[in-house]
């Protein structure tokens, strides 16, 4: 809270191929996440022609570019949703390779995707815990993989409260009955509820109105600043507009 910067950096030149290459202002502090020379081609389209990304402690970093500039591609590369053709990704200075989103998640990278990757028919709790459900202890949990709904419900309530989404009436209501901003809140909550270090949001306000946009941006600041939300050993970072 003392020094975290809150600058939105227009990232680099947009090359003639319509690709993006970004470089934040250099800093002496070590980068928690770093991408070097990332290249991604879709057939004849070069989406990323050697893009760089540097993310520091406590920083909220924005990536700016035209439609089709390659923002989503860059984000998907560092979140494991796509495998770049070449280039390197470093976490705390150590090189890593991601083959799927789970790999990235193991390093504490959580992503809120542009297309609001929540399952509309599932409830808020179910979306929150999708793919990391809590199971009952003992034989029912181990053998039958029975879910521990009580634990998941109370955890969900607690997290939603910590995020200031406390007046949530019904965490069992399907996500499709929520507004765009509410869905975004669920997606953000999922990204930060499990002790992530780096939160990546791809155009989190694109589908939202002015008020909802402001709420999501406030939420992002809150994630960075709130001691209750961030484990002091695991400061959070939110990147990418």
């Amino acid at each position: 809270m003392s020094n975290p910067s809150n600058n939105v950096l227009p990232l680099g030149r947009l090359s003639a191929k319509g690709a993006i290459s970004g470089k934040s202002v250099s800093s002496s502090s070590p980068f928690i996440l770093e991408a070097r020379n990332v290249v991604k081609r879709y057939g004849s389209v070069t989406a990323l022609a050697g893009a760089d990304l540097e993310l520091r402690h406590g920083e909220i970093l924005g990536v700016i570019g035209d439609n089709g500039a390659g923002k989503s591609s860059l984000i998907r590369a560092v979140s494991g949703a796509l495998v770049p053709d070449s280039g390197e990704i470093f976490i705390d200075g150590a090189p890593v390779k991601f083959h799927n989103p789970m790999n990235a998640r193991q390093y504490g990278i959580e992503t809120v995707y542009q297309n609001l990757a929540v399952a509309p028919g599932l409830s808020i709790v179910e979306n929150l815990f999708l793919a990391r459900e809590r199971r009952l202890k003992g034989i029912r949990g181990a053998l039958l993989r029975t879910l521990d709904r009580t634990a998941m419900n109370s955890f969900a309530k607690e997290k939603m409260q910590a995020l200031g989404i406390s007046t949530l009436q019904d965490i069992h209501q399907p996500v499709e009955t929520l507004s765009g901003g509410q869905r975004q809140a669920v997606a953000v909550a999922r990204a930060i509820a499990f002790g992530s270090r780096i939160v990546i949001l791809d155009e989190p306000t694109a589908a939202l109105g002015v008020r909802e946009s402001r709420q999501v941006l406030d939420l992002i600041k809150k994630i960075r600043d709130d001691r209750n939300l961030s484990n002091p050993d695991q400061p959070r970072y939110a990147a990418c507009l």
């Binding site: 949703a81 399952a119 599932l122 459900e133 039958l144 993989r145 879910l147 709904r149 929520l178 809150k222």
Partner: protein
């Protein structure tokens, strides 16, 4: 969007609050949306009431028991179909799988003199294997389920005819255990078969699994939004493969039921089962677009079809008209499903 709020909220606090109190139709809408099978349950009871007024013989223990016996096989097959439909798939080969499994049971027991438990296990294993093959076609070759199972329908059907040379094995030649599912017992004046009991247990088990286990919820998630599921870290392929395999296992048990019901294992059975199972699933409120409805709905769907057939027959309606009534039910069910999905996406 632009509701007038006296004091602008500083956080997301207000956002998730429900703005209005729901009115009556909204309440009904919401219940049907959350539990689409409620509608089918209402239809089931309404049709029972109507038919019992039309014909005094309808609402007797004997007739109710008969309907239950009649729907057992279709209900079990619809249970397997329901799992696949929940993943946005469809299985056109279930009739052929069931027939092949029943043939595997009967021919090993009769021709090879295998002990009945071994023969039955082999038949169920055959169902598992054939379901697994369906799953491999779907995830390995990325064929749409409709086409993958259309292809295997043809293959499995041909296999059944080739293996049996078209010959039906009568249950009178089989060890009694193979037709055990068809043997009756009486409970509270209701004459049922053991198959009815097995069917109810199967529905209870699968309903529990779907509602309370990780696998069950992942099946819903994959059917609801495969891409979101993948991004969340679910292995969509494994889920799909397991669903087709489990469905195969259910058909395998259905094959045992079928022998009991028909009193035979015949390569010519099962032709109508595909469409009947789909009908039951749809009428039971499961959405062909995946992720919606409860498996228990397939039981209600099968019962509705059974009640309509039986009730119309008792009322002296010709068989051809029964098809018309069932078709109308399908139209209503699909329309409700579309409405639910339509209002769901409107926000």
């Amino acid at each position: 969007m632009s509701r007038v709020v006296p004091k602008p909220p500083s956080e997301l606090e207000v956002v998730i609050k429900n703005p209005q109190r729901p009115t009556m139709p909204q309440n009904i809408n919401r219940v049907i949306k959350k539990h689409p099978m409620v509608a089918s349950l209402v239809v089931l009871f309404a049709s029972i009431v109507v038919f019992s007024f039309l014909n005094p013989r309808f609402l007797t223990a004997a007739n109710m028991g008969l309907i239950l016996q009649q729907v057992t096989v279709i209900a079990v097959l619809a249970l397997g179909q329901a799992l696949i439909v929940l993943t946005r798939g469809i299985d056109l080969s279930l009739g052929a799988i069931t027939v092949l499994s029943s043939i595997a049971m009967a021919s090993t027991a009769v021709y090879l003199n295998w002990s009945p438990p071994v023969a039955i296990s082999l038949g169920i294993a055959a169902g598992v294997a054939l379901g697994l093959i369906n799953g491999l076609f779907v995830i390995g070759l990325r064929l749409p389920p409709f086409l993958a199972t259309l292809a295997t329908l043809s293959m499995y059907g041909a296999l059944a005819t080739v293996v049996t040379k078209g010959v039906t094995i009568s249950a009178t030649n089989m060890p009694p255990m193979l037709s055990w599912m068809g043997s009756p017992f009486v409970i509270g004046g209701l004459r049922l078969t053991y198959g009815c009991g097995v069917m109810l247990i199967m529905f209870a088990v699968v309903a529990y699994v779907m509602q309370f286990t990780q696998w069950g919820r992942h099946v819903y998630a994959v059917g609801d939004d495969p891409e979101a599921s993948r991004l969340a870290g679910i292995s969509v392929k494994h889920v799909l493969l397991s669903v087709y395999t489990v469905a195969g296992c259910i058909y395998g048990i259905g094959a045992w039921l079928l022998i009991g019901r028909l009193g035979a294992a015949s390569p010519n059975a099962g032709v109508d089962y595909n469409l009947d199972a789909i009908t039951a699933v749809v009428i039971g409120g499961l959405s062909l677009f995946g992720g919606r409805g409860q498996v228990i709905g397939a039981l209600f769907g099968a019962l509705i079809v059974g009640v309509f057939r039986n009730g119309l027959q008792l009322s002296g309606v010709q068989v051809q008209w029964q098809g018309l009534a069932i078709g109308a039910l399908v139209v209503v069910a699909v329309t409700i499903d579309q409405r639910i999905r339509g209002t769901g996406a409107a926000r």
